[in-house]
């Protein structure tokens, strides 16, 4: 960054466009591609009712005669064609995938937000306040980290299922899923934020803020939080991929999204049953969508990590 004292400073937009971040992005084809795929999938999921050919939850749109239609082939009874074929119940697979994507992304994003909220606040408090509170929070984090998050999620899922009355289980399933994944992924946020906070808190600008009498909360919120955003963003991206995979895994295992709101994992679970009998498309298309989503998010996360931490390149 050059600096000559007499030119006017650039505007915010100019600054963003001129930043190394944007510069690097425009020169990373893989990152651009990944961002495009992620943006496309998000858009499709949000606009699902408008872009899906049929509503897979509408019983009226289902025709059992359409069952097991291969992709791009006329059904031998009804003569209808489906881009990605149909499943056992004659549901249009493309529509099912679009709606499944919606569930997967919703669960993924919400659980990342939950994990981020918990992790960032606990990390800030542990790092800045320190003492026994820090010890307590980090011990819990240590213990939780010893257990893989998928196991924690399953456990939380199982416990919540035990607490919720059986007739409400399906209805609450999505929220139980979000809580389970969110609660299982807060530790990386907390650890990173704590580590960054410990570094930032020793910096002299924080002491300068203490000197003018700012309270702890004000210093954490106004001074330290903006400085942990970079690493939090990277973790959030990586965690999004993890959460999407975790959701798919739980749903695949049958302990996630309910049959009434199938996610990509649920679709793959259904598809697996027909793999042996040759109906490959019921598994393949949801699987490819899931892989494309997870891979793109991971690619973005990887690129973000490299760009925000150039030493690691």
């Amino acid at each position: 960054m050059t600096h000559s004292p007499h030119t006017a400073p650039p505007t915010r937009l100019q600054r963003v466009l001129a930043s190394d971040f944007v510069f690097d992005f425009t020169r990373a084809p893989l990152a651009i591609l990944a961002a495009a795929v992620v943006a496309f999938l998000f858009l499709v999921a949000i606009l699902a009712p408008a872009v899906a050919p049929t509503n897979p939850f509408d019983p009226a749109s289902l025709n059992l005669m359409n069952g097991f239609t291969p992709p791009m082939t006329d059904n031998m009874f009804t003569g209808e064609r489906f881009v990605m074929g149909t499943d056992d119940q004659g549901r249009d697979l493309l529509s099912a995938i679009i709606y499944g994507l919606r569930v997967s992304l919703f669960v993924g994003v919400m659980s990342v937000l939950l994990a981020m909220g918990i992790g960032v606040s606990l990390g800030l408090v542990a790092g800045y306040v320190g003492g026994w509170l820090d010890n307590l929070i980090m011990r819990i984090a240590d213990i939780q980290l010893t257990f893989p998050s998928i196991l924690i999620a399953m456990l939380i899922f199982g416990v919540l299922r035990g607490i919720i009355p059986p007739d409400l289980r399906d209805e609450m399933a999505i929220f139980v899923l979000i809580a389970a994944i969110g609660l299982s992924e807060w530790v990386p946020f907390a650890r990173t934020v704590r580590a960054t906070t410990l570094v930032e808190k020793e910096k002299e600008y924080v002491q300068a803020a203490r000197l003018i009498g700012l309270r702890r909360g004000q210093i954490m919120w106004r001074h330290i939080l903006p400085n942990v955003i970079g690493p939090v963003l990277v973790i959030a991206t990586i965690t999004l991929a993890l959460a999407i995979i975790a959701e798919a895994t739980l749903s695949f295992l049958g302990v996630g999204a309910p049959p009434t709101e199938p996610s990509l994992g649920t679709l793959i679970r259904i598809g697996q049953d027909y793999l042996f009998s040759g109906e490959w498309w019921i598994l393949t298309f949801p699987a490819v969508t899931l892989l494309a989503l997870a891979l793109s998010v991971n690619l973005l996360g990887d690129w973000l990590k490299d760009t925000l931490n150039p030493r690691l390149r």
């Binding site: 399953m154 199982g158 302990v255 891979l295």
Partner: protein, 328 residues
């Protein structure tokens, strides 16, 4: 050294008691044990009798102590679903899981570390770049999908390997092993790859980034300035310093292999404790869930303890810091 050992052991015990507490809480408070055993339409006298027999009217700390005591004697109660003692259930299924986890861990560690070193040293090279990008696919592929794809390719399309089960097993005392029969070994291949692949990519990426971090440090620059050839810089100086942080995380990863086995076992219908657990979650079979948690917790605490001690053996700085105080 003795002090550290004592402290680590004390910490491990504490964690175990905590895990037991969670496990107990699940056992005691999730759903009602009485209803689960007797059903909803039992009489009040039946219920009261059971409550008294199970000691559910004792103070909670007493119940907890009893729970821990029973657990120490391998008494985890009776499965709600199969009405078998949970301990027997676990004992019959544990060998399958441990064999699978062991083989996968071996694979993940050896291949992961080798590839990690390779991609760190050859950073910027074509092959290393290719491996790195491919590894991202490995991280993005859910374990269950890897399993399903392997089944599709090697069982359905090629018909080379079995798609489910453990094959034939041989009984060695209390241990039932599949490692000694051809069909057992063949059955192991696909699940082991499925379970190990994801861990391998993680370990590889970890080793790479740690090694790059070490290679950037001053003492590496100074080692080069002393005229040490690259081979010595990499293997005598960088590698050892890399393995210190890698040990911890690799240890954790190994622990998580046992838990990830849940997924693999479901895909391949592998008769291990993971499959047992997932069924328990599905049917809200609380005693099995709580026992599984206790089992996995003990395993993790054990691994952590070993990793910690290993760490102390490798790094003289930690050794001294612990002796001089200030740790914690």
């Amino acid at each position: 050294m003795l002090i550290i050992l004592a402290r680590r052991l004390a910490q491990a015990m504490l964690v175990l008691l905590l895990v037991a507490l969670i496990s107990f809480a699940i056992f005691r408070f999730v759903g009602s044990p009485v209803e689960n055993i007797l059903g909803q339409d039992a009489t009040v006298t039946d219920r009261n009798e059971l409550i008294a027999r199970m000691g559910l009217d004792d103070p909670i700390p007493v119940q907890y102590a009893r729970f821990v005591w029973k657990a120490l004697n391998f008494d985890f109660g009776i499965s709600y679903r199969t009405a078998e003692p949970v301990a027997d259930l676990i004992a019959s299924r544990l060998p399958a899981t441990l064999e699978l986890a062991f083989i996968s861990a071996l694979m993940a560690l050896s291949a992961g570390i080798l590839l990690g070193i390779f991609t760190a040293i050859k950073r910027g090279g074509f092959i290393a770049g290719f491996v790195m990008t491919t590894s991202l696919i490995g991280v993005s592929l859910p374990t269950f999908l890897i399993g399903v794809l392997l089944i599709w390719l090697f069982s359905v399309e090629l018909g080379w390997l079995p798609s489910f089960g453990r094959g034939d097993t041989v009984r060695l005392g209390f241990w039932e092993t599949g490692l000694l029969t051809v069909s057992g070994l063949k059955s192991l291949i696909l699940p082991a790859i499925t379970l190990g692949l994801y861990q391998m990519t993680l370990i590889m990426r970890l080793v790479r980034s740690e090694m790059l971090e070490v290679l950037r440090q001053d003492f590496i620059k100074f080692a080069r300035a002393r005229g040490l050839p690259e081979r010595m810089v990499h293997f005598r100086h960088a590698l050892r310093n890399t393995l210190v942080p890698v040990t911890t995380v690799a240890g954790l990863q190994l622990g998580s292999i046992v838990a990830f086995a849940i997924i693999t076992e479901t895909v391949f219908q592998w008769p291990g404790v993971g499959l047992m657990f997932i069924n328990a979650v599905y049917f809200v079979d609380i005693p099995v869930m709580s026992a599984y948690l206790l089992l996995v917790g003990t395993l993790f605490v054990l691994i952590n303890l070993i990793v910690d001690l290993l760490y102390l053996a490798i790094d003289p700085r930690i050794r001294d810091r612990n002796l001089r105080g200030g740790g914690g």
